[in-house]
Symmetry: D2
Subunit: 305 residues, 4 copies
């Protein structure tokens, strides 16, 4: 079944909040998200800044210990105004280089989903000339209610997802989250028309979105960290600081996955992963950083899921 939902309230934490809608296992949801500062498709502020979330959506029957499967069917900017800030963040450069950074002023982009482009509008550094970049729409922050009855700010991330800012969370990707609360309680927002790795200015090209996702349950499958797959890769996301620890979480989760679902023993999982692993960097701006661990499907045993 497909539900069309127009949000009127937003949350800035991922926690055990009252669901705005309950859907059945396998249902599809068509909804919208506002931008990171709470502005909607009409560039009107309708929510508090700091990655306000649409949701939460409860999935009937979801219980702690299950896995929520989220198919990202479609993520499309629903307006033309996008914004970033002008400087990379102090934490991604050498400490002694920080005084050389420019002010973190707001920068405007014009997004054209039809043409598939984002064009820098203003302020436009003279030295840069015209800057037109290809769109690659994605969700920066989405996930389920946090573990231990916590309500965690959408400025950060954890085992339940959140503000991971990974470019790979685009249309066509399926993401899996561990369920910590009855109903799972799915939240989504913080769309980017495109972004560089790490979201190193603290921003992609921030924009409101039309989103279509399908939510389903894997009953009784317990995972430790977000997992995902697309047509070419399976992957895991570890969220922590420093990056070293995020990488440890993601690598451990992948070794577990290879063993639990791809028929590999510990020796097989270690040998395969070590020579085939690819890492990618999600967010390196927030309190928790995100590291992605992935492996091409073509190298997985054919007995796999």
């Amino acid at each position: 079944m497909e539900h069309t939902f127009s949000p009127t309230t937003y949350w800035n934490t991922l926690g055990p909040h009252q669901p705005v809608l309950e859907v059945a296992d396998g249902d599809t949801l068509v909804t919208t998200t506002v931008d990171a500062r709470g502005f909607d498709c009409d560039r009107k502020q309708v929510a508090r800044r700091g990655n306000p979330m649409t949701g939460p959506f409860a999935v009937t029957g979801a219980e702690p210990g299950d896995t929520l499967k989220v198919e990202l069917n479609s993520i499309v900017p629903n307006r033309s105004y996008g914004f970033t800030t002008a400087s990379v963040a102090p934490n991604v450069v050498d400490p002694e280089f920080v005084p050389e950074l420019p002010p973190a002023d707001l920068v405007e982009w014009r997004v054209d989903p039809g043409a598939g482009t984002a064009t820098l509008v203003a302020p436009k550094p003279e030295s840069l000339g015209d800057l037109v970049l290809p769109l690659d729409p994605m969700l920066g922050c989405f996930g389920v209610a946090a573990p231990k009855e916590q309500a965690i700010s959408t400025a950060t991330s954890g085992p339940n997802g959140g503000n991971m800012d990974y470019r790979g969370f685009r249309q066509g990707t399926t993401v899996y989250f561990p369920v910590f609360e009855p109903g799972a309680l799915f939240f989504l927002g913080d769309g980017h028309a495109l972004q560089g790795d790490g979201e190193i200015s603290g921003n992609g090209v921030e924009i409101s979105m039309d989103v279509r996702v399908t939510l389903s349950l894997i009953k009784g499958q317990t995972i430790g960290w977000p997992r995902f797959e697309n047509d070419q890769f399976i992957g895991t996301a570890g969220n922590a600081r420093p990056l070293d620890q995020a990488l440890q979480h993601a690598t451990t989760e992948m070794l577990r996955w290879l063993q639990s679902e791809y028929g590999l023993d510990v020796a097989g999982a270690n040998l395969l992963l070590q020579q085939c692993v690819r890492y990618e960097v999600g967010n390196v701006f927030d309190p928790a950083y995100t590291m992605i661990c992935k492996i091409a499907k073509k190298f997985l045993p054919s007995t796999g899921a």
Copy 2:
């Protein structure tokens, strides 16, 4: 001019050692490297284990403050025996997962440069079946003499390069190193027939190589960290722990590069990099980790180098 050099001595540190050969600016060097344990093309141990280096090669006229340009013309395995170890390293998984890792036994691979494949030979985990991976030959450890008259182990890396284990240092890539000693003193070794990101078992498929490189100087150009380019990207390498600091070094070096050679002011460099940056993970096994910061050439201002 092209020099063919057959090494008879090897170094396990990158330091101000006596050059084995002096070449002119622009000369090409055809030589061989032994594997990480010091075994040559005949699988005979001719050097001490721990990434023994061929070299150093002095380049006439190189002085501290210059840049050494190294074109990786060709890197080809010169035998069929390759090895790895069976387990990923304890530092890339969660601390509490370490006891679940298998023993780090030696694993044999058969490398076929003609077919472009590496095939797992033994011990072969039953669960894994046949494992045949595409070759992607590269140098794990190479660079110039370290700064401050240090001699630094080939087990680690620094501003002068060293054991960075980045998959992108393959045939067709040009790498730039800051010069710290007269003659620059170029070393090379630690070839991998292929490797996963991070060299997370402490090994790629380790093998001896036939290598062809062209060495030239950029007089008076002072850089802070290794830089590289290939047909699609320009990139920088930061070497440090944790990965966060390696990323800071690499990002800072890229911002400097964009300003000094691509005609961008600080505002332009910040805006361009933040939305176009790609990070890759080099070594995450050694005392110093390696993070790569890169940007596609197609996004660079046309006034660039």
Copy 3:
């Protein structure tokens, strides 16, 4: 005014929960805390494990942007049974040393507040003989409701305090917290009869406590991280991972403090702190680590607060 409060409910998060009692600015609170697993003075489990908190207590008039002053008048174990676990945590030793750690079994201690001792009961490693340690009672986890309407697990810490496990939070110390919610909402629990630095096994000698604290407000004084003072030192607590970042938070907060309240300009604060600073390690077990930055009062300008 003094309030005696007997808790019947407990929280495992620090968040905007309904206060159990509202007290006036300057009031004193006499209450009890259960141990980290929720056992009370009769060794009866009355709360869920994971540092259940007594509270929250609202302070009339407290508003975001104020500071809550907490005088730790008295912290006294109210039973004789204490416990720890037998092993240090995997994250505080070298990754390759982890397999050598013993099992993390529960260990029993007998606490005698009269004699001022904790005596190891069982299991008692033969090699160790009798182990009698001096008591040094403290609160491992206390603080106010988290910022941004979050509810944060008592397994970790942040700007609002939480599970900092710092030995210096003992009787006679005054602690200051930034207020993020109306009423401040003060929580307390996780008493330790004593502990080593870092709480490296994840436990001090865990025990229930009788606690007496005085709560008062500093209206309009906004601080960034917990601060404290005792008869000899003033100090700050930074909570983050890695320790490097916790140290950055604590050092920055101290520099701000020296400037805002001790009449120092930035040059004076830098010069004084650099040669007089003392660091101590709070928790190194939780998701966020704690680093303490302190300076002896005898070195502070006499114009100070």
Copy 4:
């Protein structure tokens, strides 16, 4: 036997350099060190800046796998001029706070060993008034030749010691180093009249010293990291980044020590250390940071060394 040695050459790396003197096991050495910028007791520059070292001194019979015992008999400033820099380092404050730091200008101190004081001379921030601090002379950088035939800059530290900048390395402390080269090759320098924890400005009160040390061997005892003892504590030093890893090294070394020399099994060592450990911060400015792990002698089993 006692040797009086007046240095005429200095090294800026700890490596396998030609010894300036060979002494017997148990001999005492009376010598001098220059300050971190190479200025001697007459404030004349006689060595290159960057912690120039007196030495190396070979100890007859020292072989890799032994331990060198260094008794710090006496460390006394031999002039009155000391210096620091005016600002704490960018890496010890929050990245966004860096632009608020003052310039890192040179600051002069007057050191009076007779009175036991260091007095700030100029530039003297008006807000600070007179600043007179108690002397606590120590060696910032000392140790033996590095492992693996490396020559490591005196700007950093490792298993062989080096620039650890720990306040506890003062007169009366005995320090133990692993021997990596024949003769051990002991170096010393970088005296501080006093310093704050972490050497957070990159400087203590830097000064030249008269030093008296006794060097002896523990044949066949192999240790992993520097160890030390004074009248009250035994301790270990871990050198790495981030601090978390330095702490892991130091903690692991202490657990090994408690087992190998204090008659404890793994269970006893874990239980004792976890409740009695004290951590201190050495250098947090250099490429490698230093964390100290210590335990009071009064808690050690009486069967101990």
